[in-house]
């Protein structure tokens, strides 16, 4: 019943907002349903969807430990379907790249803020700014609005040095003179460094407004969305993964670790990684690999190697949502009343309904 209406041209405002969430495959909606757009391959050969679903059922039936990995390129709507699916086949959900190190989960203090607060700071302290691309969209957005900037290294010594200085004199430079300060951490900042900045911000809070803002990895711009949806639906923060094998969600190790331990016999990549995020698994796979997601931006060779692939040409705009790295929910369209639903969410719902163990 999901007849796509003709989507209007996405507005500049929409494209500007979404540039902070990541790059999907912009492809304008046509008048086809997701079923007419889907393509499926078994062993590299094109097949009908029904044949692919039979194969998927068979793979799931013989799998003791299926893992849905990737997840970053999914809308909130598609993530909901993926959680339901993983639960229904007693599988795992394993964001890749991982969302956070287990160490970060135990951080004693977190002092953070949304981008709007960072923009309103009178000083931005860039930590380890030399370590990542100049044109990182979130970093660029902050730089465009900043009044004053300071640059410090991303090492424990620097932050401990700052801490010693401020403990002696809270009004010391570069923070003390200012009213609102934002500390911007680089993607993949080591937790030992990050946690010290957060702790320093909490201590300074009595004298100066300080927040710490983490720039997301370029391959994980929607990581916050993945983390939030999985957390509210399961109650488990998916730092590295969630395991439903006992019928209820529990935290588990990351996909690569479990592959190395031969603890995954069916790897289902859900939401194809983007070209930049595309990553081969280290070492031979112990079991079958399935890919489900948007037709990749790269040459698609990866799909040919998979035991099974079910893909859709990327669709944009769609009436679905993603989340900016600071938690702001953004529609992937100008008007969700008229935009088509996310076909990937619909495909995942279909696959879940077809393969759910009863």
């Amino acid at each position: 019943m999901n007849t796509f209406v003709n989507a209007t041209h996405p507005s500049d405002a929409l494209m500007r907002d979404l540039s902070l969430v990541g790059d999907y495959v912009p492809c304008r909606a046509t008048g086809a349903t997701w079923r007419e757009r889907v393509s499926a391959r078994v062993g590299g050969k094109s097949v009908e969807l029904e044949r692919a679903v039979e194969k998927l059922k068979d793979l799931l039936k013989h799998s003791r430990a299926p893992a849905m990995v990737g997840l970053h390129m999914l809308s909130i709507e598609a993530l909901r379907e993926t959680v339901r699916w993983a639960e229904s086949v007693s599988g795992r959900l394993q964001p890749w790249p991982v969302i956070a190190s287990p160490l970060a989960q135990r951080r004693p203090v977190t002092m953070t803020a949304t981008l709007g607060e960072v923009f309103a700071s009178d000083l931005v302290i860039w930590v380890g700014r030399e370590g990542y691309e100049e044109d990182h969209p979130v970093a660029r957005a902050i730089a465009e609005k900043q009044l004053l900037a300071a640059f410090v290294g991303c090492d424990a010594q620097t932050v401990l040095g700052c801490r010693a200085t401020f403990e002696n004199d809270p009004t010391a430079e570069p923070v003390g003179r200012h009213r609102r300060v934002a500390v911007v951490l680089p993607p993949g900042c080591e937790e030992t460094v990050a946690s010290q900045w957060h702790a320093l911000a909490a201590r300074l809070q009595q004298f100066v407004r300080v927040c710490v803002f983490q720039i997301p990895g370029i391959n994980a711009m929607n990581a916050r969305g993945v983390a939030e949806v999985l957390t509210w639906q399961t109650g488990v923060y998916p730092a590295t993964g969630i395991d439903f094998s006992g019928g209820a969600p529990r935290a588990c190790s990351d996909a690569q670790t479990l592959l190395d331990l031969h603890a995954i016999d069916l790897l289902i990549e859900v939401g194809k990684p983007t070209e930049q995020g595309h990553r081969s698994w280290a070492g031979p796979l112990p079991g079958a690999r399935v890919t489900i997601g948007h037709t990749p931006a790269h040459d698609g060779k990866d799909d040919l190697d998979a035991a099974l692939s079910i893909t859709l040409p990327g669709l944009f705009p769609v009436a679905a949502r993603m989340m900016r790295c600071d938690g702001v929910v953004l529609w992937l369209c100008d008007d969700p009343a008229t935009a088509p639903p996310d076909p990937l969410a619909e495909l995942l719902r279909y696959l879940c309904d077809q393969t759910a163990t009863t």
């Binding site: 405002a13 909901r80 977190t110 981008l115 927040c211 488990v236 529990r250 989340m323």
Partner: protein, 553 residues
């Protein structure tokens, strides 16, 4: 097909529609297609009949103040890894129920299941920042069995303060009106009015001392903010008055601030939330005392003021609040795991676990103060049950609290375990009142529905939503009675059947009916030009708003 539910021969407690003398009179209750009807329509045959002969029938419970769906709650879930690992809820395939985890901050599905299992079918999420509204709607969509609305954090919004500072009350009202409508909020939340804004601008301001202190060297004061919020609620004809978390939460002597806050609104309607945390006196050594005597007198006399208690329960709890300076103070005092998030110059939130223990003087006092308030205020319609879930404890503790209110022996047993100073001085010993089933029905459903302005909730009169809880008629063991309802019905659908949750239904979003305000929209759009995302991405789209149940004032 018409769905007709017949509840036969139960002892009915419907305090919104019947006087005390009619309490517990046996009668039949009928629901047709999710609504209560006075009598069975001609020719209609019940699709299902529930025998309530050995049961008490009440409207579904309404939680007047809790934290169940927001980015703040989700941060709390994320921080509660150990707690969630030890409270897992497997999926129940046979009843099509999803899995989840957590007790203090359960996952969304589990939240809906556990509320329903206690006989609650409506809830109010009490603190949502404007930019966080979308996430709250998403989480509530994933919270079954509850019709739910939320309160929007407004009183420390940078632009509201600026407008008020310029003396533009009307502009501030219009601006807030637009935010409320656009986010699909049910009402206005006022947290530590001006105190949070002061701290956000100038970190040296941990708390404002009086209602006339200046907010961040502006002309704005807590008093002006309170009056503005009352004006917002009145001029927009909102179903619920300003929902106020007073200044100086948790500080000794703060009952004076609470009494001043009541005075500041000069007879206008207001709801004071988790009032237990705002009811402390102070002795000449500076120590906490109970401030309930004064507060009960005032509440008994001021019929325009309602409150919920924010009862503390011994054991683990989780503080999460828009009162960010308070949370920072708590962190400095306890050093427990803590997070603070500032949102778009609109509001902030702080989160941190806490453990209430009867060995602690303060925690024992807090428990006693909550009980004293519930028992010492004569009008249960205005003093409602809450734990400020999960701040004072989980909503799962409601049966325990109800049991202590209904039974002095149980209360005395708890008091005997409390800190010796509290045992010695607590006024609780002298309270002989024991809640009746009518009192319970009022503080847990009829009262919250009336205070929130939800005309279709909290009663069993014709036209009400068929949200019904049927308990075993066992008031001599209130804990057992209120822990495990026999049947729970939501919109005519039986969720809890013979004591077991067997079904889940989608809940509805409750949003205040607010007429679009062109001036407010223009002011908001202008203000939002400096925002970190486009104004078109703020709040809900019109078609989403249409899917909410519109609640008229």
């Amino acid at each position: 097909m018409t769905d007709v539910l017949h509840i036969k021969n139960g002892r009915v407690f419907d305090p919104a529609n019947t006087p005390p003398e009619a309490d517990g009179v046996r009668r039949d209750v009928y629901a047709v297609d999710g609504k209560i009807v006075g009598k069975l329509p001609e020719g209609a045959r019940p699709t299902r009949t529930l025998d309530a002969t050995a049961c008490v029938v009440m409207p579904g419970g309404v939680d007047v103040h809790c934290h169940i769906a927001s980015s703040t709650v989700n941060r709390a879930r994320a921080m509660q890894g150990e707690e969630h690992a030890s409270h897992i809820h497997p999926r129940k395939l046979e009843h099509n129920l999803r899995s989840g985890s957590g007790m203090l901050t359960p996952s969304t599905f589990v939240t809906g299941y556990r509320y329903a299992a206690l006989g609650y079918t409506t809830a109010l999420e009490a603190a949502v920042s404007p930019s966080g509204a979308r996430q709250t709607h998403l989480e509530l969509d994933d919270t079954p069995n509850l019709d739910a609305g939320f309160l929007l954090l407004c009183a420390n919004h940078q632009h509201v303060i600026e407008r008020l500072d310029k003396g533009d009350q009307e502009g501030a009202v219009a601006f807030i009106s637009h935010m409320l409508r656009k986010t699909g909020a049910l009402g206005v939340k006022v947290v530590n009015p001006g105190g949070v804004a002061s701290w956000r601008r100038d970190a040296t301001h941990h708390t404002l001392q009086t209602l006339d202190d200046q907010v961040a060297s502006s002309s704005v004061t807590p008093r002006k903010l309170l009056q503005l919020m009352a004006r917002v609620c009145e001029s927009l004809n909102l179903p619920h008055p300003p929902h106020v978390h007073c200044n100086r939460l948790g500080l000794p002597g703060n009952v004076a601030t609470t009494l001043e806050t009541i005075k500041a609104l000069e007879g206008r309607r207001m709801h004071l939330t988790h009032i237990q945390f705002h009811a402390y006196g102070q002795n000449n050594k500076g120590d906490f005392t109970s401030g309930t005597a004064q507060l009960c007198d005032t509440l008994n006399a001021q019929h325009h003021v309602s409150c919920d208690v924010g009862q503390v329960v011994f054991g683990d709890a989780f503080t999460l609040t828009g009162d960010t300076p308070l949370e920072h103070l708590l962190w400095k005092l306890t050093g427990r795991r803590y997070a603070n998030v500032e949102s778009e110059l609109e509001a902030g939130c702080g989160v941190m676990p806490i453990t209430y223990t009867d060995k602690s003087f303060l925690h024992s006092l807090q428990w006693s103060v909550g009980m004293e308030l519930m028992l010492g205020c004569h009008d249960p319609w205005r003093v409602l049950l809450s734990t400020d879930h999960p701040n004072g404890g989980s909503f799962l503790a409601y049966p325990t609290i109800i049991a202590q209110l209904m039974n002095k022996t149980l209360r005395d047993e708890q008091l005997a375990k409390a800190h010796t100073r509290v045992q010695k001085h607590s006024a609780l010993k002298d309270h002989t009142r024991e809640f009746t089933l009518r009192d319970v029905a009022i503080v847990t459903r009829a009262g919250p529905a009336r205070v929130l302005g939800l005309r279709h909730k909290g009663h069993l009169g014709p036209g009400a939503d068929a949200d019904i809880t049927i308990y075993h008629d066992n008031p001599s063991d209130p804990l057992a009675m209120f822990s495990t309802p026999r049947y729970v019905i939501k919109a005519g659908q039986v969720l809890v059947d013979d004591g077991e949750l067997r079904h889940a239904v989608k809940g509805q979003r409750l949003a205040a009916t607010i007429t679009p305000d062109e001036k407010g929209e223009a002011l908001f759009t202008e203000y939002f030009r400096g925002g970190s995302y486009d104004v078109s991405q703020f709040g809900l789209h019109e078609h989403e708003l249409k899917s909410c149940v519109s609640v008229k004032g």
